[in-house]
């Protein structure tokens, strides 16, 4: 009896040990690149171009890497601002447009409704990489080439299938009685949507917003092709200039600083709104 119990205890402990052992090693592997880049970016001048072993600054904390980064393009503030404008405008427009469309698809009956919804979803099958050339030409004809507005419109469009799908589901989950009750009180369509329904679909809005933000903030290829003048570059495009370097030499300190600037907002947004992010992910996975 006693030995069997001891054996059980030992096995349980062994299992826990193996579990936490392997999980922490894996966690460390996933975290290391972040830690090394973050600590490394605060090293002084020349130190930044030597291997980050140890990763933390040994000659004292310094912002040299960030100052060097600021000398590229039109200054890091300008490019961070470009990225922020593009991402936040994409968030606002995506939320607005998908809120309306989700409501329309959920609550109204009109001809071709299902056909139009399927058409919207079918665009998910087509890679946007394959339509960049015509987008480039079209935006040029519309006078939106090399403009953040053009890029924003493209990003919003790319977000729409997922976002409309999310918002339609969110409205489907709201009981119709709430709406009927409000209508009885004689409320108009727009006020019904903003005052009564919006608070109820807020979790869906959060999911749509977080995906729109991360995708717009991180997108690289379309920005690379559609933006042509230096002062318009978003952060990922600016960083290609930093990566190419000057006179054949790359300033690795600026690379580390740039990576930190690009990564931090993503991590903050994710850690704060993780619940809504995961909802979006599993909604896509379960369909």
């Amino acid at each position: 009896m006693k030995t069997a119990r001891a054996r059980f205890e030992r096995r349980r402990l062994g299992g826990a040990f193996a579990f936490h052992g392997s999980a922490s090693v894996l966690s460390l592997l996933f975290l290391t690149p972040f830690i090394v880049a973050f600590l490394g970016s605060f090293r002084r001048g020349q130190e930044a171009s030597s291997p980050p072993i140890p990763p933390w600054p040994t000659n004292g904390f310094s912002l040299d890497a960030y100052r060097t980064l600021d000398t590229f393009g039109s200054g890091i503030l300008q490019h961070t601002l470009n990225s922020l404008i593009v991402s936040l405008a994409t968030v606002v427009l995506t939320v607005l447009v998908s809120l309306l469309a989700g409501y329309g698809f959920s609550r109204y009956r009109f001809p071709l409704k299902n056909v139009l919804f399927i058409l919207l979803m079918a665009t998910l099958m087509i890679p946007f990489q394959s339509i960049l050339t015509p987008l480039f030409i079209m935006l040029a004809r519309m006078g939106l080439n090399n403009s953040l507005v053009g890029l924003i419109l493209v990003y919003v469009t790319l977000q729409l299938p997922f976002s409309v799908f999310m918002m339609r589901n969110a409205f489907d989950a709201v009981p119709k009685e709430i709406e009927d009750a409000a209508r009885v009180d004689g409320i108009g369509d727009i006020r019904l949507l903003t005052r009564v329904l919006l608070p109820l679909v807020m979790p869906g809005v959060a999911t749509v917003a977080i995906f729109a933000f991360l995708n717009a903030w991180n997108e690289f290829l379309a920005a690379l092709i559609l933006l042509s003048s230096n002062d318009k570059y978003t952060l990922p495009v600016l960083m290609t200039a930093v990566r190419v370097g000057r006179l054949g030499s790359i300033n690795w300190g600026a690379v580390q600083a740039g990576v930190v600037v690009m990564i931090i907002p993503c991590l903050i947004v994710f850690l704060l709104l993780q619940r809504y992010y995961m909802r979006g992910l599993t909604a896509g996975a379960v369909k």
């Binding site: 579990f19 999980a23 894996l26 966690s27 592997l29 996933f30 975290l31 690149p33 880049a37 171009s49 030597s50 291997p51 980050p52 072993i53 990763p55 447009v97 998908s98 309306l100 469309a101 409501y103 329309g104 698809f105 109204y108 009956r109 409704k113 139009l116 058409l119 665009t123 099958m125 087509i126 890679p127 990489q129 394959s130 339509i131 960049l132 050339t133 015509p134 480039f136 493209v154 469009t157 790319l158 729409l160 009885v184 991360l214 991180n218 290829l221 990922p236 960083m239 690795w252 690379v255 990576v259 690009m262 993503c266 991590l267 947004v269 994710f270 995961m278 992910l281 599993t282 996975a285």
Partner: protein, 307 residues
């Protein structure tokens, strides 16, 4: 008040009221449909149209029928790009599953700190592929990076190895970066599948004396068919469209051997300015992806079973 309105509703609806409802519905979806039509549906049709032209950046496009497509089928660099993309897709998908599946089983357990591990594994997913590629370009650099000097210090290699200099080393460095970036995503997808398996079934099989690998082979994997198919398709379609990592980490790689298909389109369209030919290549990629999506729908179809 409310009584009268309910009575009103019960009356047969007049056609003009229904029409008003339909118009309102259209107005609500109009902004989304306009955006998708202008910035997606039209460009797709425009791509097809362009692919039938010789289309320089400046000057008049010239109709050449299917010549772009005949050119494509005799273009060795197109086949090279296709071959490389295929090789990359297969390799990266295998390695992603090799990591993501055990990770999903790890974080499926009900133990303390599991949510923390899950979040940590997932962190790289939310940063951009461009940021991740840039970060790893530095980490893999021979003089200023992290990996080579670390391996040298630890005595794993004699001298420093340039991880981005030869095709094989650069290829596996990029694969490692992609695993770091993507494995957490596949893990979460697989986790939803694992969690959907009823625990009574697992218990029952355990009581029946099924060994761990037997449970995996005959219970877990069959019940996860749909999730596995979804994770597989997401990984394959994502890999076929890979661009950022090759562009940023190796600029197309040693001897231009890392030109993926999207990279080749970008080169043809925006470096050589053969916009018509680039469009034909785009149509080829589009066809491949649509075929894969149809295959996905077929793999994920309900066979009428309860699962």
């Amino acid at each position: 008040m409310s009584v009268t309105s309910i009575q009103e509703k019960k009356k047969p609806r007049r056609p003009d009221r229904r029409r008003r409802q339909a118009i309102k519905g259209f107005l609500f979806i109009a902004p989304a449909m306009i955006l998708v039509t202008v910035f997606f549906v039209f460009p797709v049709l425009f791509t097809a149209w362009m692919s039938l032209h010789k289309w320089p950046l400046l000057g008049e496009p010239q109709w050449i029928g299917l010549r772009n497509y005949t050119r494509m089928f005799s273009d060795q660099r197109f086949y090279d790009a296709l071959g490389f993309t295929g090789y990359y897709t297969v390799m990266v998908t295998i390695v992603i599953f090799a990591f993501a599946f055990p990770m999903a089983m790890l974080v499926e357990q009900k133990r303390r700190a599991v949510p923390v591990y899950r979040t940590l594994f997932f962190l790289p997913v939310v940063v951009g592929l461009a940021s991740a590629s840039l970060l790893w370009t530095w980490l893999s650099n021979i003089d200023s990076g992290f990996f080579s000097p670390l391996m040298e210090r630890l005595g794993l290699t004699t001298g420093r190895v340039n991880l981005l200099a030869t095709f094989d080393l650069a290829f596996w460095t990029i694969i490692a970066m992609v695993i770091w970036k993507i494995a957490g995503f596949t893990m979460i997808i697989l986790l939803t599948g694992l969690q959907s398996i009823p625990s009574e079934l697992v218990e029952a099989s355990r009581i029946d004396g099924a060994k761990r690998w037997q449970r995996l082979r005959f219970l877990t994997l069959p019940l996860m068919r749909k999730t596995l198919a979804l994770a597989l398709v997401l990984s394959v379609t994502g890999s076929i469209l890979a661009f950022d990592q090759f562009y940023i980490m190796t600029s197309g790689g040693p001897q231009n051997r890392m030109i993926s298909i999207v990279y080749y389109i970008v080169n043809q369209s925006f470096v050589s300015f053969n916009l018509g030919y680039g469009a034909a290549l785009s149509i080829a990629v589009l066809v491949i992806l649509v075929v894969l999506s149809v295959a996905q729908l077929w793999l994920l179809r309900d066979k009428g079973d309860a699962a």
